[in-house]
Amino acid sequence: MGVRVGIPRALLYYDYFLLWSTFLENMGVEVVVSQKTNKKIVNNGIKSAVDDTCLPVKVFLGHVLDLNAKKVDYIFLPRYISVEPRRFMCPKLMGLPDMVKQLLPGIPPTLVVDIDARKNGGDLPVEIFRLGRLFTFNPWKIRLAYKTAIAKQKEFKKRIIQGLTPEQIFLEKNVIQRKNTILEDINRPESNDLKIGLLGHGYNLFDNYINMNIQGKLKEMDVQVLTSKMFKEAEMNSGLKRLQKDIFWTFGRETIGSAFYLLQNKIVHGVILLVSFACGPDSIIMDIVERAYKREGVPCLTLILDEHSGEGGVITRLEAFIEMLKWREQGDESYLSSHGESLDCPESPI
């Protein structure tokens, strides 16, 4: 029997799973993924984490414990410091492997790979070889596996822009091939649906337990959703031109870039920011985005997720937001304020 390596279904699973699973499988390793997030996982995570930690990290700890129960030989915990020059991941991701080891004693040994691309390309190949050497002595095999993994990751990026969710891409073998990107689809003049942007980190957008299936709920309300993962580099860069200082978080750049791109090109009727409670980078990014939207009078709803979020409250807020957008579309727009400022309104439009 081969070595079993566990990958937690949390945090950057939604961005880099395909890269690592392809690499590890090509090394002859059996990849085990933890269950989908559920109440037990969340509770286990909360119990083991420090109180102030954000929900996604707590959930991650729960997933590691789930893998522990699955009796894997290793747990794969890459240390994402930076994936592009001059930008960082969140500090919590930098300290995550150490945090997991200290908070959860007794878990299987961890495989830590340092990903630091701050200096020209970084030493990712070196780290990959260090990892590959655990399973094979054949450097060519490692190189080949690495190349395949990188190719798969590129493919993944393309698919995500086409509007598929990561889970669809990871699990279903023959997914529907699309010709256009979702943005081009949505932008067709004949579509009359309400369009909104759903912006946030991958683990909040796609973990349906954490976000209480927000994408499904929006679909039920017949709303076309654009997530912040569906934008091309060039589109994000054009949005980022509004900033005076380059933003130094990779995910922050995604959120701000897509938010400003949507705002500039007037693609959507409103945006929803999906933020976890106590998220450091997002506390700043949220403010920048909200301020810009407020100045231009485009509605923007911030949904804060934590372990106490009740589904009822979220539904009410979503429905109210969508209804409000619809009214703005139908009636005289100036009758509805976008951000709670009082308007001089002689009679109710409804």
Binding site: P105, G280, D282
Partner: protein, 359 residues
């Protein structure tokens, strides 16, 4: 130019000297009070950490007092602090103030841009004047830190005398505009404070303070932690000073680089990568304090601080392995004096009991 800047401990003294020497009118924001924090909290993003809110409060008060230029530090991540200036500018713009903001970002190789940003601060002074101003500010920082170290060594003997003595010396340092005079004041002041240590003292316990630097250096936001401990007869050691930071990151002073290497080596088994801010330092310094046989550690952080939450998660095992009590104080604008005092008192009692049981 009428410049203003944010408060952080006694740093205002050095900044004031620097900008006055360069020929600017300095509007020091009034000391941080409840009103400052209220103003900051009202206009800042809800989940931002406390230092940002305090900065915003300082700026508003400074601008209200007539300043027209705001000076702020920048950074290159991953800690939120690097983007503070950008957010603060937008907040103040939306509030309708007309002002200039100069955000001092680390040059990262782009010296031309760096000097262009700093240009207006130079105020057409020649290089000699600029260097003199910088040297004076640097000596003030060193003097302030030296006096603070002496104060911490003496305050647990006779807390009220030490406090008033310390305040007098700080005032003198603020007035001094000459490096020679500054040296005299420092030596004399440290001597005066050291005199206090000659009284008899029964039982000494030593507490190290680690954590996020703003919370550690600014007495108003940490609810005067150091003096509170001093009045309980506890000797306090602060893990980092502003002069250490400047030595390490700007002047590359060899002895401080060595210090950096020491704490990195100490932290290695627990945290092997930098995590932004001072998270790595907090873990490393805690271990170094434990090795120096301190009786306890107090870890202060602003609520939701990312690097310090990592440190906090890891300090649990450090505490277990080194058998050293650690109290984590996560503070924000809602921290109440009474709850804080109860926790600190209980912690100190526990540390005392532990020490008695061992001896």
């Amino acid at each position: 130019m009428k410049v203003t800047f944010p408060h952080m401990g006694n740093l205002w003294i050095a900044l004031k000297a620097l900008f006055e020497k360069l020929g600017h009118e300095v509007i020091t924001p009034p000391p941080i009070t409840k009103k400052t924090i209220d103003l900051g909290v009202r206009y800042s993003p809800e989940f931002a950490c406390l230092p940002l809110k305090v900065n915003v409060g300082n700026f508003i008060e400074g601008l209200e007092n007539g300043a027209d230029t705001v000076i702020m530090m920048g950074g290159s991540g991953p800690c939120r602090f690097g983007y503070y200036g950008q957010v603060e500018r937008e907040i103040l713009n939306d509030l309708g103030y007309s002002f200039n903001i100069i955000i001092v970002d680390p040059p990262e190789g782009d010296w031309k841009n760096f000097l262009r940003t700093l240009g207006p601060l130079g105020n057409n002074c020649n290089w000699k004047e600029v260097v003199n101003a910088l040297l004076l500010a640097w000596s003030k920082i060193k003097a302030l830190d030296h006096i603070h170290r002496a104060f911490l060594k003496s305050q647990h003997y006779e807390s009220s005398t030490a406090c008033s003595c310390y305040e007098d010396i700080i005032k003198k340092i603020d007035i001094a505009m000459d490096r020679k005079e500054l040296r005299k004041i420092t030596l004399q002041g440290a001597g005066e404070l050291m005199l206090l240590t000659e009284t008899e003292h029964v039982e000494q316990i030593k507490i190290g303070i680690v954590g996020e630097v703003f919370m550690m250096w600014e007495p108003y936001v940490n609810l005067d932690l150091e003096k509170t401990l001093g009045s309980m007869g506890v000797e306090v050691v602060r893990s980092a000073y502003i002069s250490d930071w400047i030595n390490e990151n700007i002047l590359y002073n060899p002895s401080c680089i060595l210090r950096k290497m020491r704490f990195k080596r100490a932290a290695k088994p627990y945290l092997s990568s930098f995590v932004g801010g001072h998270g790595w330092e907090s873990v490393g310094e805690t271990i170094l304090f434990a090795e120096r046989k301190f009786d306890g550690i107090i870890h202060v952080l602003p609520f939701t601080c990312m690097p310090e939450i990592i440190a906090q998660s890891i300090l649990g095992s450090v505490s277990r392995d080194y058998k050293i009590p650690i109290l984590t104080l996560s503070l924000d604008e809602h921290s109440g004096q009474a709850g804080f005092l109860t926790r600190v008192e209980a912690f100190i009692d526990m540390v005392r009991e532990k020490k008695r049981a061992i001896v």
